[in-house]
């Protein structure tokens, strides 16, 4: 029935038909947004947080992988305090705060967000409040709350995606927004005796992705750019592209140095899944690149999105990455198709 309405030429539509088209289109948009939000949060709504536990896995050096119910969080802990890369789901924040407390005598000082997705940022507001900001100089003494809460660092576009212009409704509460953003390729930081590189990956999953490299510990926190249990959640509408995702994964491969026979050395914490080294990122990068090449060739052959989906260009990787109801192979193909069609 809906399709029939769309088949009317515009000049022949009655006001009722126009209204129905509007409602149908709005419903479609909302459905798409709901799907994307569910995907961005990696199926948060399906998780049972009451039963979920936090596990802390020592990685190497100052770094720990904090495993919640799905999303991985990176913890750097030392004499100066703590740094978290992402904060996971807000429903897990209390458990997260309790779990990380024992790794340093000093409080959390920095939260770094690798993108704007809810599974990375929804805990920002609560977790931030458990930390503090070290401030100084005359002016800060006059600002009552200047020391309250940890700083939240992210690439500028993360703030843009999480907030809204004055007068418009923000998609996330302002307490969760980054408090300190950067432009350009990289923001350096030195904390707990090691240099930390926050490196922007343009047009990857979105336009605001970063990876975080802890140089002394030799650990890369990859955020959602790299998962061992699902396809990359590319959001074309937020500036993401499959081409940029391949390049970002290649950057991680190039940044990592193996210890012996393609194993060990630099370790990589994925957004979801198990602790890895370079080899698994290579596997994942190769998969995304191969799927990209297939979709690109299909577009060149004039195939529509539906035809591309029907051709199943991810079939050989679906046993590994295609089992998530919140981010299906078709959803991944669609975002990849849109980004390649545009380029």
């Amino acid at each position: 029935m809906k399709r029939r309405i769309f088949n009317f030429p515009v000049c022949m539509r009655t006001p009722l038909q126009v209204a129905l088209i509007g409602i149908t289109a709005l419903a479609g948009t909302l459905a798409a947004q709901t799907n994307m939000t569910a995907a961005e949060s990696h199926g948060e709504q399906n998780a049972d947080f009451a039963k979920a536990e936090i596990h802390v896995l020592p990685v190497q050096g100052n770094i720990y992988m904090v495993v919640g119910d799905g999303a991985n969080i990176t913890l750097q802990a030392g004499k100066q305090g703590e740094v978290l890369v992402n904060t996971g789901f807000d429903k897990m924040s209390a458990k997260l705060i309790a779990a990380i407390k024992k790794y340093s005598d000093r409080p959390l000082q920095y939260i770094i967000n690798t993108n704007s997705y809810p599974d990375s940022t929804s805990g920002n507001d609560l977790v931030k409040d458990a930390g503090t900001t070290i401030t100084g100089a005359n002016v800060t003494n006059d600002i009552k709350d200047s020391r309250d809460g940890a700083q939240i660092l992210a690439q500028e576009n993360v703030l843009i995606r999480m907030s809204a212009p004055t007068g418009q409704k923000s998609p996330t509460p302002d307490g969760a927004w980054p408090t300190d953003t950067f432009l350009g390729n990289e923001k350096p930081l030195f904390f707990n005796g090691e240099s930390i590189r926050i490196i922007h990956q343009p047009s990857a999953l979105t336009d605001g992705d970063s990876i975080v490299y802890f140089r002394r510990s030799d650990v890369i926190s990859a955020g959602d750019l790299f998962n061992t249990d699902g396809y990359p959640v590319i959001d074309f509408a937020k500036g993401g592209s499959i081409e940029g995702t391949v390049l970002a994964l290649t950057n991680i491969v190039n940044l990592a140095i193996v210890e012996h026979e393609e194993e060990g050395g630099t370790l990589v914490i994925p957004g979801h899944g198990h602790l890895c080294d370079q080899a698994e990122v290579v596997e994942y990068r190769d998969m995304v690149a191969i799927v990209r090449d297939r979709i690109k060739a299909m577009i060149k052959d004039g195939m529509t999105l539906e035809q591309v989906k029907a051709a199943k260009p991810t079939l050989d990787y679906d046993p590994l990455y295609g089992h998530n109801s919140y981010w299906t192979p078709d959803m991944f193909i669609e975002e990849a198709y849109k980004s390649l069609k545009k380029s």
């Binding site: 081409e243 391949v246 026979e261 393609e262 198990h274 698994e280 290579v282 190769d286 690149a289």
Partner: protein, 300 residues
């Protein structure tokens, strides 16, 4: 190749008999076999696959899924020119197939002399592997995966049975067929005098429809001969490759898949595509029926 296929099927039967004989004479758990020493590989079994290497498009006798088949069809050997691929290790289910020297030794608790672990060192890729014998559990899913995986062992009479998880993605055949990082491995180490038989059983629901069983033999090496090192340094072999470029063939566009058929014209194309049924002797009957049908069609 038909002969090879028959040989594979019959070696499976022989293997079952070997396992049965080992288990039939099973002794109490205290009666353990000592595998310690240096071992040299005997590479007669499945020689064409193990030493010259498998041909592209030969999936015969492997219980692969459609996903694994497509993965291999798309695989380009040029991927091995990428620096990050050059020193890739053969994973634990596969490494015993290679021309490797193998050293096995025991680790005992100094206080009780209880067996804590059995260590393996494979010369190929210089891989050290620990088989824990102290009853410790396997790590959680989120722990790191390695080329050799995490192994625990137990005695079944004189057979050492080992269970391994947390293995990285690797080969089941060196022409693009894979086992994924979800695969698990069960092994049996069986000693008959100076001969060690190693049996591997891989399960991988996404890429194998049935467990994949292989065996390989080693002979004890008392003269400590052979090469024990495998230094590997990756280099840039293809200059000018663009970032993010990964050699692969688009589905249906791999020009080398027919090479195996060309070199072995007696093998029907359908058989080369593999699948569980091509593992079993009954498949020969199906092949004969197919041949008869082809001949009848040709006559008409």
């Amino acid at each position: 190749m038909i002969q090879l296929f028959i040989a594979r099927a019959s070696s499976g039967i022989a293997l079952a008999a070997l396992l049965a004989s080992g288990l039939a004479v099973a002794r109490p758990a205290a009666a353990q076999m000592d595998f310690s020493g240096n071992w040299g590989t005997i590479i007669a079994e499945d020689f064409p696959e193990r030493i010259p290497g498998p041909e592209l498009g030969d999936y015969l006798g492997l219980p692969i899924t459609a996903a694994n088949r497509l993965r291999a069809d798309s695989w380009s050997p040029s991927r091995l020119t990428m620096p990050e691929q050059q020193c890739r290790v053969h994973v634990s289910p596969y490494i015993y197939r290679g021309p490797t020297n193998l050293r096995i030794w025991e680790e005992k608790d100094p206080e009780t002399q209880a067996l804590v672990a059995i260590h393996n060192y494979s010369q190929t890729y210089e891989q050290n592997r620990t088989i824990w014998m102290d009853g410790r559990p396997h790590p959680p899913d989120y722990a790191m995966h390695t080329w050799m995986g995490f192994s625990t062992g137990k005695w079944e009479g004189e057979i050492l049975t080992v269970y391994t998880t947390h293995i990285k993605t690797g080969w089941i055949r060196r022409n693009g067929l894979i086992e994924s990082d979800r695969a698990t491995l069960t092994e049996h180490f069986i000693r008959h005098g100076d001969i060690l038989t190693h049996v591997s059983i891989v399960t991988d629901p996404g890429y194998l429809t049935e467990p994949l069983i292989k065996s390989q033999d080693f002979r004890v090496n008392t003269r400590y001969e052979g090469n024990w090192l495998y230094p590997c340094e990756s280099v840039e072999e293809v200059v000018g490759r663009q970032p993010g470029q990964v050699p692969n063939f688009l589905p249906g566009k791999n020009p080398f898949l027919k090479e195996y058929l060309t070199n072995h014209p007696m093998v029907p194309e359908q058989a080369t595509r593999g699948g569980a049924e091509t593992m079993y002797p009954e498949y020969r009957l199906k092949l004969k029926a197919m041949e008869a049908k082809t001949a009848t069609t040709a006559k008409k």
